[in-house]
Symmetry: C2
Subunit: 396 residues, 2 copies
């Protein structure tokens, strides 16, 4: 078992309720703060928001949060009024089991869209999961497993934060795999701290970090209906301020960045983790727009999968990102090989460039513009026959 730092005053459970067709697979997670916690949340911008997202949007930020209940295998999206009632019922069951009001609970789901939740399973499962709640590392491990779908591994990170006259702990875990094309929020990720932070500060910190971490990854650009990121802080002291609050924000950012990169690395069927660095745009938003457009091109992804240094695909994708530039304002590197400088191609060794792609699981593209000081680091995956296999027979 790993050596994670678990914040004080939280308990976790991952339970096999029977939602999934695979036997013995954990599918129901509970995260509970023993005392009231400040809670921030960021959600998908998809117009088709899942029922749990619709329920939670009205519940954060708040100062008296108590927990999160999560099921995997069913997204509870496109499920109409029944779906909303089912999402609310999940929070009622969880709140009753731990002794708080339903509004103090958040709810998240991930899995197939358009199927009603099998509520009889959850009516039994949620109280049973609550009986397993524990503050131990194995309990954290169980909860992190219970939120996965086609992920091949859990994504989890923790840190100890040192403030001027106190300290706190921060733990986060996430799931990804596919339908990963976030905008303002992404996937499921849950961060818990025992620091004391005002809800509004918490919301600002989370929103800022998400925009540069979870929003800077893409698997295939399909924005999910269920993306939700929650940050809890259940400390009972004086709220953090000034440099201490900045320290806390830096800790949140580090954990979010780690989890986001882990989601890109474990993308469905992926054979490469691709880091796209864009710099020298007018602002950071332009850099992100260009990186995201490159990341979501199937032609770019196929070239990287095949070890084909067909760099015209990278440059041409940048060209339709909606950012004005002239070709002579752009240079391109693959790894440390400069292939295109100020709008003109350079001679290069195609064999060496191909070997770079073939022999590294983690590869780098860098685009440098001469327009300003904007920049970003963006993560994506390649496109493989395994991705197609996984997504050509998911529901049937």
């Amino acid at each position: 078992m790993h050596d994670w730092i678990v914040p004080h005053g939280y308990r976790f459970a991952g339970h096999v309720s029977g939602l999934r067709s695979e036997p013995h697979r954990r599918d129901l997670a509970l995260i509970v703060s023993d005392g009231p916690a400040a809670v921030a949340g960021v959600f998908t911008q998809n117009r088709v928001a899942a029922a749990p997202v619709q329920v939670c949007r009205t519940r954060v930020p708040r100062s008296d949060g108590h927990g999160i209940v999560v099921c995997s295998g069913n997204a509870n999206a496109c499920t109409g009024e029944q779906g909303l009632a089912d999402a609310r019922r999940m929070t009622v069951l969880a709140a009753e089991a731990v002794g708080c009001r339903p509004e103090q609970f958040l709810v998240a789901s991930t899995g197939v869209i358009g199927r009603p939740l099998p509520m009889p399973i959850l009516e039994v499962g949620i109280p049973a999961a609550a009986k397993r709640l524990d503050s131990s590392i194995p309990a954290v491990n169980d909860a992190a497993h219970a939120i996965l779908t086609t992920d091949t591994c859990i994504k989890i990170a923790s840190a100890k934060l040192e403030f001027s006259s106190s300290e706190a702990r921060l733990l986060g875990f996430a799931k990804g795999a596919a339908m990963i094309g976030p905008n303002m929020a992404t996937m499921l990720a849950f961060l818990m701290s025992d620091a004391t932070v005002r809800p509004d500060d918490l919301q600002t910190i989370l929103r800022h970090s998400v925009s540069r971490t979870f929003n800077c990854i893409s698997v295939e650009g399909h924005m999910s209906t269920n993306d939700s990121v929650f940050l809890f802080a259940n400390g009972k002291g004086t709220p953090l301020a000034g440099k201490d609050l900045e320290e806390f924000a830096a800790g949140v950012h580090t954990i979010c960045a780690y989890l986001a990169k882990a989601i890109a690395r474990d993308a469905e069927g992926a054979a490469h983790l691709v880091t796209i660095e864009v710099e020298g745009t007018r602002d950071d938003a332009e850099a992100i727009r260009i990186a995201k457009t490159i990341a979501e091109s199937a032609l770019v992804k196929c070239a990287i999968f095949g070890g084909d240094p067909n760099w015209g695909r990278f440059v041409s994708a940048a060209g339709y990102a909606g950012v004005p530039f002239e070709e002579k304002q752009l240079s391109l590197w693959l790894g440390d090989m400069l292939l295109y400088q100020h709008g003109a191609p350079l001679p290069f060794d195609p064999k060496a460039a191909s070997n770079y792609l073939r022999h590294n699981r983690e590869v780098n593209l860098r685009l440098r513009f001469t327009l300003g000081s904007g920049q970003c680091i963006f993560y994506t995956s390649d496109l493989t026959p395994e991705y197609i296999r996984l997504n050509a027979d998911y529901t049937t």
Copy 2:
């Protein structure tokens, strides 16, 4: 050989110049109007525009066009100043061979990005191609073959147009296959008529048709650097006006629509031609935005390839298209099966839905909104392991 209607006063050639690695493959096309022709052109919106696109943008619309020279196998894109000089040189060679000024010639290229054009081959090839110019159907067939890349077949259509007191002929051909995600223009397509039309009318007619035909298809959404559509009209009579001009515009639209659908049908690796009908949005632009977002989702494409009626992917893609709507304003059909009505899922037979996808090469999605009278018909393909194979080793 087909029974195409060839407009009067045009000659065609398709030549094996040696640009392509495959022996005996036609790679150089010439289209020549015997007299001066009105010419309209529409081009890619990619910021990284290929050299021939940069050259042609300054040459259309015009009243004294004479021809088009096209090479396949090399895109002449991202090739800097040398590329521009090479594109201009192609028009000089073609103009000299047929006896006109270089500005009267247009140029187009398609193939690998970032490689200098092998000009010695073209210095010999263009005059040799000009010697083969002919108005026969076999010559049209040769030219239509010479512009292809990974296309598996030529795309060609023709029509006879009847006006109040005259008639004209219209012929068009196109290439597609991949890097198909147009915006305002697409691919290579060339339309020739012997009608008499003012250049400005021609440009208006072409731009309008392109926006609803070539701009309503997508293979993987990667906008090319080389998209160009040209329309020639070399008639010598009184320019068409009123109902006759409308008749001509309708003919152009029919040919463009046929060629656009043919490009989507012959998309790289495609196993399905997918028609996406969207109706009831506030305007047509909203309908196109939604259809294009669905068409470009890898998850949607994989589901169709796999015969998986995972309709949540269609609805969730609509949700991130940037068009405001409420779920209850949306209903969805797969073929004639209503799966989702006013925001709620309906019971359906997954086996029948899967069989519909498995047993038809051409399949239909229909999304009906209750927002207005906007609509569109959009064509795309599925995503297959063959697409990945083709694009994982294209240059190396």
